[in-house]
C-alpha cells in the first residue's frame, strides 16, 4: 500500500495526500489502517504541538484542575494579567473530593459536588482549560508533554494531588492492590470511588462496615472520622443493624478529637466502634479480614484507605524528594519552586509541608503561590505568609451539626520547619451553626474556584 495515500472510509474510498494523512494518523481510524503494515510503536501526543492558541504573554501552564490548580489558574491571571494561563486537567467532569462524605448520608446530592464546569471557570477567569493528561516533562527545554501534544511553558505548576501507597498497609502485589482499588476503594481521590462507596452504604444490609485511618500525613485529617459519622447516620436512618468499625493507625483521633469522640459516643453509640492504634499490616480479600500486629479483624464491607503519597508524576519527573517518606515534592518550602529551577512549582497535596492536606489549605496556598509567580514574572519576590486550614466536619446529618478547626502555620527559620501557629483554634462543641457552616464553606469554595 502506498503510505502517502491511505485509503479510508467504508463507502467510497477517499484518497488522502501526505499532510492530511499525517494528521489523521495520530488517532482514530487512520492509525489502525496505518498500523496494518507498520508495527512501530506509536505514541499519542508525542512529536506534535498541542493545538492551542499562540501564547499572548508568558505562558503559565498548570497541571491539575483540583483545588490547588483551579485557584492558581484564576488568581495568577488576576495578579498578573499578562500571563497566558493554560490549565491541563485530565478529567472532563469536575466533582469534588471535599464534601463527598455528606453524600453518603444524603445531606447533599451529586449535583452539589459535580455541577461545576471547568469551561465556566476558564471563561470567567480568562484562562484556557485544556482537557489532557500530562505524560512527561522536559525541564531543560521547558516543555510539558500531554496525550494531546506538547506545550512549551515559561512557568509550570504541578498540582496533581495525591496518590495511594498500598505498600504501607502491607499490600505489595499488583493483584491485591488492583482488587482493593476496585472492591474497597478508599474514596480519597477519584469521584468514581465516591459513587462506589455511596452505593455500598445505601445498600448495606447489616454487619460490619470497616473504615480505617492511615498513619502519616494523609489527605484531610478529619475526613475519615466525618465519614464514619455520615455512614453511621445513613445506617441509623435506614434502620439497619450495622456497625461502622473505625480502625485508627494513630493512638487517638488525629484532629478535633473531643468533638468526634462526643459525636461517636452521643450520637452513634450503637453504630460506631472506634479502635485506636490499629495499624493494618495485611489484607486478606478472600476471607475479608485485615491483620494488625495483634488482631485479625473480619468485615462484611469496607472502604480501605491506604497510605498517602505525592502523585506518581513527581517521581516520574525526577522531582520527588527521595528522603520524604510520603514521596512528596523536592521544593523550596517557602517559594514552592523545584530546588534549582525557578520555572517549575509544585503545590497542593503533593507539597512536602506538614500542612493538613485540605482544600482550604490548597486554596489559600494557591493564592499565595499565584502572587509568587506574578512577582517572579516581573523580576520581584514577595514575603511568605501562611495558608489557612479552615475545616468543617459534619458530625450529625439530622439535624445538621458540625465542628471545625481554624489553623494557620508558623515558620521557624532556624530549623526550617513549620508548626501550627498559636492562633490555631478548635471548635469542638457541635452545633447547627457549624452544620450550616460546613455547607456554606463548600459553596464558598466552589464559588471561589469556578465563578
Amino acid at each position: 500500500m502506498d503510505k502517502g495515500n491511505n485509503e479510508i472510509s467504508r463507502r467510497g474510498f477517499i484518497k488522502l495526500g501526505g499532510a492530511a494523512a499525517a494528521t489523521l494518523a495520530t488517532g482514530g481510524l487512520a492509525s489502525s489502517v496505518a498500523q496494518a503494515d507498520d508495527k512501530k510503536a506509536h505514541m499519542v501526543g508525542t512529536g506534535a504541538k498541542a493545538y492551542l492558541p499562540k501564547a499572548k504573554g508568558p505562558r503559565l501552564v498548570i497541571v491539575g484542575g483540583g483545588t490547588s490548580g483551579l485557584t492558581i489558574a484564576k488568581y495568577a491571571k488576576k495578579e498578573y494579567p499578562k500571563f497566558d494561563v493554560v490549565l491541563v486537567e485530565k478529567r472532563d467532569m469536575y466533582s469534588s473530593c471535599f464534601s463527598s462524605n455528606l453524600w453518603y448520608a444524603g445531606v447533599i446530592n451529586l449535583e452539589f459536588l459535580a455541577d461545576h464546569s471547568f469551561l465556566d471557570a476558564a471563561k470567567n477567569n480568562n484562562y484556557t482549560y485544556f482537557n489532557a493528561t500530562c505524560t512527561g516533562l522536559d525541564r531543560a527545554a521547558r516543555k510539558l508533554y500531554t496525550n494531546q501534544g506538547e506545550i512549551a511553558y515559561d512557568y509550570l505548576v504541578l498540582a496533581p494531588g495525591i496518590g495511594y501507597d498500598y505498600s504501607r498497609i502491607g499490600v505489595k502485589d499488583p493483584e491485591t492492590e488492583t482488587a482493593l482499588r476496585t472492591i474497597y476503594p478508599a474514596g480519597f481521590t477519584m469521584p468514581t470511588e465516591h459513587s462506589t462507596i455511596k452505593a455500598k452504604v445505601q445498600g448495606f444490609e447489616g454487619g460490619v462496615f470497616m473504615l480505617n485511618v492511615p498513619g502519616g500525613n494523609y489527605r484531610c485529617l478529619p475526613a475519615p472520622y466525618e465519614r464514619a459519622c455520615m455512614i453511621a447516620a445513613a445506617f441509623k436512618k435506614n434502620k439497619v443493624k450495622a456497625k461502622v468499625l473505625v480502625l485508627d493507625h494513630n493512638p487517638d483521633i488525629t484532629i478535633k478529637a473531643k468533638g468526634f469522640h462526643a459525636a461517636f459516643n452521643e450520637l452513634y453509640k450503637d453504630y460506631i466502634e472506634y479502635k485506636p492504634s490499629m495499624e493494618i499490616k495485611s489484607v486478606d480479600l478472600e476471607k475479608k479480614t485485615i491483620k494488625t500486629e495483634f488482631d485479625t479483624i473480619t468485615f462484611d464491607d469496607a472502604s480501605i484507605y491506604p497510605g498517602v503519597r505525592g502523585s506518581k508524576l513527581l517521581e516520574q519527573f525526577g522531582i520527588m524528594d527521595p528522603k520524604n517518606p510520603q514521596k512528596e515534592a523536592l521544593i523550596d518550602t517557602l517559594k514552592y519552586n523545584v530546588i534549582g529551577d525557578d520555572r517549575v512549582y509544585v503545590t497542593g497535596d503533593s507539597r512536602p509541608h506538614p500542612y493538613s492536606k485540605s482544600a482550604n489549605t490548597s486554596n489559600t496556598e494557591g493564592k499565595y503561590v499565584a502572587k509568587v509567580l506574578a512577582a517572579r514574572a516581573q523580576g520581584k519576590d514577595i514575603e511568605w505568609y501562611s495558608p489557612e486550614t479552615i475545616c468543617y466536619s459534619l458530625v450529625n446529618a439530622s439535624p445538621l451539626e458540625g465542628i471545625s478547626v481554624d489553623a494557620t502555620y508558623a515558620y521557624d527559620a532556624k530549623t526550617k520547619s513549620f508548626s501550627f501557629s498559636k492562633d490555631t483554634k478548635m471548635f469542638e462543641d457541635r452545633d447547627a451553626s457549624k452544620g450550616r457552616g460546613t455547607l456554606s464553606w463548600a459553596k464558598g469554595m466552589y464559588r471561589d474556584l469556578f465563578a
Binding site: N124, S421, K425, S433, K434, G437, W441, G444, R447
Partner: protein, 237 residues
C-alpha cells in the same frame, strides 16, 4: 455601576451642610454615590435614629436590591478619622452619625470571600451583647465562614490575627437629618465588591430575585430590619 460618577469627598462636604457628617475633615477616599434613600421601618415609616437599639444589628438592602448592609447603633461614639487601606488606596473613615454620633453602617458582604446574610441565614453578624468566640469580645462583626473579625468602631477594619489580612468592610455613607432624627444612605466608600458579588452569586440571586432585579439600585426608601427578622438563623463563632 461603571456609569456612576465618582465624587471626591472633599467635593461633597459643602453639600452636606446642615447634616451632621460625623467626621468633617479629610480625605483621599472616593465616595461612590448611589441613590439617596431614606431609611424606613418595615411599615415604611422613617426610622428615628434615637430609637435604634444598641443590643442588636439591623440590616437594610443598599445600594442594590440584593446587597445587604448593616446599620449599627454602637454603645459609644467611635472617634472616627481612622486611616484605612482599601484596594484603591488609603481612605479615612468618617465615624458615626445620629444624635450621639453612634450610628454607623457598613456593607454586610464580607470583604474576604463575600459571605452575606440571606433569608435563610447569616454567617456574618454583629456581636452586640454576647461575645464572639473568635474575637473573645463584643462589639465586633465576625464572619464565621473563615473567621474574619471586623471592628465597626474602627471603620470596619479587620482585626489583625495570624490570617492574611482582608480589606475593611466598605462603609455606607449616612446622612443625618437632625431636625427630624431621620437617616439617609447616600453612597459607599472604601472597597466595595458588588461586581464580584453579582458574579459569584449569579445563580442564587437569579433564584431569589428573578431576572434583572438583583442589580437594580434601591430608590427612595430602604426598609431596615433587625438581623433576626432579616435572616432565619444566625451563625455564631
Amino acid at each position: 455601576m461603571d456609569r456612576r460618577n465618582f465624587i471626591k469627598f472633599c467635593g461633597v462636604t459643602t453639600a452636606l451642610a446642615g447634616f451632621q457628617a460625623g467626621y468633617p475633615t479629610l480625605r483621599a477616599a472616593e465616595l461612590k454615590q448611589y441613590n439617596k434613600v431614606k431609611l424606613v421601618d418595615g411599615k415604611g415609616q422613617p426610622i428615628k435614629a434615637k430609637n435604634l437599639t444598641t443590643k442588636e444589628s439591623y440590616v437594610f438592602n443598599y445600594p442594590f436590591m440584593s446587597t445587604p448592609a448593616f446599620l449599627l447603633n454602637l454603645p459609644t461614639k467611635p472617634p472616627g478619622g481612622d486611616k484605612l487601606v482599601g484596594k484603591d488606596g488609603e481612605y479615612t473613615w468618617e465615624g458615626g452619625t445620629g444624635v450621639d454620633g453612634t450610628v454607623v453602617a457598613f456593607t454586610a458582604i464580607c470583604s474576604h470571600q463575600l459571605s452575606y446574610p440571606t433569608k435563610d441565614g447569616s454567617p456574618i453578624s454583629y456581636y452586640a451583647t454576647e461575645p464572639s468566640e473568635d474575637a473573645g469580645r463584643t462589639g465586633v462583626i465576625v464572619c464565621c465562614e473563615h473567621d474574619r473579625i471586623y471592628d465597626p468602631a474602627q471603620g470596619g477594619k479587620m482585626i489583625a490575627t495570624n490570617k492574611k489580612a482582608t480589606q475593611p468592610m466598605a462603609a455606607i455613607r449616612l446622612e443625618y437629618d437632625a431636625a427630624a432624627d431621620e437617616l439617609y444612605a447616600t453612597g459607599v466608600y472604601g472597597t466595595e465588591r458588588f461586581n464580584d458579588f453579582f458574579k459569584a452569586y449569579k445563580k442564587e440571586l437569579l433564584e431569589e430575585y428573578g431576572p434583572g432585579v438583583a442589580k437594580q439600585e434601591v430608590a427612595d426608601t430602604a426598609a431596615v430590619l433587625l438581623l433576626s427578622e432579616y435572616s432565619a438563623t444566625k451563625d455564631k463563632c
